[in-house]
Amino acid sequence: MPELAAHGLRFLRRRWRVLVALTGWSLLEAGQTFLGGYALARALDTGFLAHRTAVGLYWLAAAAVGIGVGAVGTGRSFLGVAGLAEPLRDALVTRVVTGGLRDAVAEPHRADTAVVSRLTQQVEIARDSFAGLVVVARSFVFTALGALVGLLSLSGALLLVVAPPLVLGLAVFALALRPMARAQRAFLTADEALAEAVGQTAAGLRDVVACGAEEHAARWIRSGVDAEYTAARVLARWGMVRVAALGLGGRLPVLLLLVTAPWLLDHGVTAGALVGAMTYVTQSLLPALQSLVQGFGGAGTRLTVVLRALVRGGAALEAPEAHAGGEVAGAAVELRQVSFGYGGTARLVVHDLDLVLPVGTHLAVVGPSGIGKSTLANLISGLLRPDSGEVLVNGEPAGRSRSRVLIPQEAYVFSGTVRDNLRYLCADPVPDEALRRAAEAVGAGRLVRRLGGLDAAVDPTALSAGERQLLALGRAYACPVPLVLLDEATCHLDPAAEARAERAFAARPGGTLVVVAHRISSARRADLVLVMDGARAMCGRHAELLADCGLYRDLVGQWDAVGSGSQPAGALGYPDGVNPVAGTGLAVDGRHVVPHRAVTQVQPAGDLGHRGTLGGE
């Protein structure tokens, strides 16, 4: 709370000009309030009661002019409100967006779409509540100022009668503010919990019904309904305190003016002044106090609750880093005794892994779902830091190296032109011809032409998952970096398209390629295959692994002979259900390959290693 207050003060201090303007326009309003009572008093005393009707009318005309001028002030004061509420909204939107992106980038598997509701709803609640607070508080302060100055100018005695109950009412309200805010918060929390219970139940209604768990679900939702009911009743009771504060501050002064009237009249207060005082109380103070007690508590609580949720965190994002292309030193990828686990008591996903990939190698990583293949890709690309050991890319620590590109399964295509999407990873301007060539190379040429060329706008939602992957592949190809990691980046392509894309990357001169395989055909095409099986990892050529690695045989067998021996032998072109595209066999085309060796210990990992992909495999 103090932190929030400090934020708020800084925010206001930076906008002192707006505050000054707001005060200025509000003073016009205060002037109107002042005239409302004062002119009436003078109109009565010097005009109507003195049988000088014209003078009375002059005074009332002055009040009418005051009303007009005051209204201008009221209207203009909203520009001041805008000058505060809009920058607040801008700041919050910026914060939510950068914060949401930062969190998503730090932990891509936890990418949280709740940030969108924060953006569209909570930020708006904050904006409206804040503006409401400013309007209500400002209006009360300046109305009260006008009325109190008016009372003082009519007679100091009047101020003595009116001010104490007003202060008392405000004090009661101020004291109740904190518990009322608590009640309000309880209500908001209950409402959120209820919305979540209903939303989740509705989203999983099929599962609820299939499990026969309607009573469970009903109990869950009803507990939310009951909690909100209770909170609403508590709020209603606090509403009575508000009424009491209003009665003390706004209604009691009228009675007091009546009771003290004989004394006041004896002490030089005129009939007009008395009427003016009553007008101040009933026409100005009472309504202003009423909006204050009704609006302030609710809006204030909503604002603090929402702001507290929104302001959490919010450091600046790092500046985009350029890709340092070219220069290659040593092995393209080197893992030395690398271990990694997802923290806590969780077991290690990668344990003491050694791996050296010379420049130009094409490696395929295979293994069962959730064994940690994406984790490995993240370690090599530096998105994850190993718990122990070292990951070097071109001789540099992976975290620092920008000489690699990672294309994940969920291809990122954004609304923009085809050109913007293709050159996304390039720091320097790229000639259109190079972009076209890149698209052509990975098999996205037809897609780019169909979309309408490089200048065409892309609507990501109108593309199929495979088309998005093609654009992402073209983007990677267009980026002149030595190491490309494809983490199931071709899973939505058909086998032929996948083969074309992988070959394109493998054929880049000096280009090293790591493919987390979605199909076994990817492994057949690779120079080297890394088999991750939880207990240990083995690295070798396809044929060697077929001979030495049981799991690899299983995987190949599963992938290949899906029909599990029930196919009519030889009757068909391919065994039942197998991927109809034959592998390219051993693709060790004369390039140097690390000698076959068993890569040491990779611990059983389960699916934790697989959190990197959003939809699973």
């Binding site: 009332l60 598997h109 099929r206 009939a271 779902s369 959730g370 590109v405």
Partner: protein, 562 residues
């Protein structure tokens, strides 16, 4: 009478006593508010003539006290009445949502249903109090106008002449603002959709180190948003200023005429004071309009609730299926979705104790068949029998006990992982949950979580494959005689799938299984394959027999093999 009005009437009846009491308090409050200015005026007149007025003074005090007390009572009553009506409405909504079955409820998105249960229900819940306060907001201005007339008809005439001008001016601003609001919302939506895109590409952005650039791209429409926002405030400022002019000006006009009448001796000072107050109260007609708008809102919200309440509930019988192996029979089943028949007169008999795989091109109605077979939805024609008993006759709990479902994208419930597996009609023992998790190959990754099975789900984000395995474990932990797997292993690799199917054969009690399969390997392991085409079963035979047919093989083409 419209259905939403019937709902509102029912809501009023539900809190009838409170509503009547609320009406009475409000009416009494209005009466006090109307009497007070006259009493004040008379007292003031006596005091100005230096005469004691103890009785009148007491009356004033009593009226002020009554106003405060009635106001307090009204606040409490409307708060609690709203709360009670809202809770009642929500209860009805939740029963209906849970009772209609998932397919009928799918007309509404989950977010929409949540909105109808929270915001809409709360708005509809104010109907009772809105009606009650409508009465008072009408009494007060009318009464004030009458009082004004009684004090001096001239004053009432001035007020009535100025009133129409007031209304005309008030109406000018409403139109200009809506256009501005929609432009504002468009800019906001543009930012939101850019952000959603970027979040979807989080891993690419992380790897490329382009988060800063992305933030700038997402925030591009912000200046537009700000511009429209400022415009909205300007419009609102103008509207507020207009409203701020009208009431005081009208009052001043009444005071001016009153002053003239005072100077000519037709009016006392106290009467003038009362007249000013009555003029203010009479402009409370605006409050009447806003209460009316509130009632209209409540009615619109009730209409949205009614749409949910109008969905037909799924009725269950009270029969227990006879002892059996779980034989499933579909007879002439037709299901129509969006005007198109998905299943058309489909006949299928799944022998008790056998495993039948359902295959077919996407869109062939495989999932619909699974839903009909397990009575997640009822067919538009035809019937489904479990061990000879039509499923609608079977008691709900019995049916769910006997038939288990696992899905491609299961939604899990419960606080912990263990709760999620145990979720169902009866709570299985922790041992059974663990055995089910082992059979579903979920044990491995669950044991990696900080508190294993006791880990709160909120603290353990799960991948699609992990969620799928927990969904399987949930089905394994509960199911009786029939197990329906609707593509429930699609996110798993072939090895894991094979392990699960082996465990399924040995460790899961369900005797009869219906599998929706995309992979040839799954189909190959089943006793029989039901090949779905054109809304019917084209063939029911073992996989290896069907494999001879090119059409059948074509079904699996393009299916990723891992």
């Amino acid at each position: 009478m419209r259905t939403e009005d019937r709902l509102l009437l029912a809501a009023l009846r539900h809190s009838a006593r409170r509503t009547v009491f609320l009406c009475l308090t409000s009416a009494a409050g209005s009466a006090a508010a109307l009497l007070l200015p006259t009493a004040l005026g008379h007292t003031l007149d006596l005091l100005l003539r230096h005469r004691a007025a103890p009785h009148l003074m007491l009356l004033c005090a009593a009226l002020v006290g009554a106003s405060v007390a009635l106001d307090a009572a009204q606040t409490l009553l409307s708060g609690t009445t709203d709360a009670k009506t809202t809770a009642w409405l929500r209860d009805r909504l939740l029963h209906r949502i849970l009772g209609v079955g998932p397919y009928a409820a799918a007309r509404f998105t989950p977010g929409d249903l949540a909105a109808r249960c929270t915001g809409n229900a709360a708005t509809a819940g104010t109907a009772a109090t809105a009606t009650a306060s409508l009465v008072t907001t009408l009494i007060t201005p009318v009464g004030a106008l009458v009082a004004l007339t009684l004090i001096d008809p001239w004053l009432a005439a001035v007020f009535l002449a100025g009133g129409p001008v007031l209304v005309l001016l008030l109406r000018t601003f409403a139109r200009a603002s809506s256009d501005c609001v929609s432009r504002y919302q468009r800019a906001q939506a543009a930012i939101a959709s850019r952000l959603v895109e970027a979040l979807g590409g989080a891993r690419t952005i992380a790897a490329a180190g382009t988060a800063g650039r992305e933030a700038a791209r997402v925030l591009e429409p912000l200046p537009e948003l700000s511009r429209e926002g400022h415009r909205m405030w300007r419009i609102q400022g103008r509207a507020t200023a207009q409203a701020a002019v009208l009431v005081p000006l009208l009052q001043t006009a009444v005071l001016a005429v009153g002053g003239i009448r005072l100077a000519t001796g037709h009016l006392s000072v106290g009467e003038l004071l009362a007249a000013a107050r009555y003029a203010a109260l009479a402009t409370g007609v605006g409050a009447f309009v806003s209460r009316l708008a509130a009632l209209v809102n409540a009615r619109a919200a009730a209409a949205r609730a009614t749409e949910v309440l109008a969905l037909p509930t799924m009725l269950y019988g009270d029969r227990k299926p006879p002892f059996g192996e779980g034989q499933l029979e579909l007879r002439g089943v037709t299901v129509v979705r969006g005007g198109q028949p998905v299943l058309e007169g489909l006949d299928l008999r799944v022998p008790g104790g056998s495993t039948v795989a359902v295959v077919g091109r996407s869109g062939a109605g495989k999932s619909v068949l699974a839903a009909v077979a397990g009575r997640l939805t009822d067919p538009d024609a035809g019937e489904v029998l479990l061990d000879g008993v039509p499923v609608p006759l079977i008691d709900r709990a019995e049916l769910r006990r006997e038939v288990g479902h696992a899905f491609e994208r299961p939604v899990l419930f419960g606080t912990t992982i263990e709760d999620a597996i145990a979720y169902g009609v009866d709570a299985p023992t922790p041992q059974r949950c663990r055995a089910a998790a082992r059979a579903a190959r979920a044990d491995g990754f669950v044991s990696l979580l900080p508190d294993a099975y006791r880990t709160e789900r909120a603290r353990a984000p799960l991948s699609g494959g992990e969620t799928q395995r927990l969904g399987l474990a949930r089905a394994f932990a509960h199911c009786g005689r029939l197990l329906i797997l609707d593509d429930a292993t699609s996110s798993l690799d072939s090895v894991t799938e094979l392990q699960i199917s082996q465990a399924l054969a040995h460790d899961v009690p369900a005797r009869t299984r219906l599998l929706i399969a995309h992979r040839a390997s799954t189909a190959a392991r089943a006793d029989l394959v039901a090949w779905l085409e054109g809304g019917r079963v084209r063939a029911l035979a073992p996989h290896h027999e069907l494999w001879r047919l090119a059409d059948y093989r074509a079904v699996f083409e393009g299916v990723a093999d891992a």
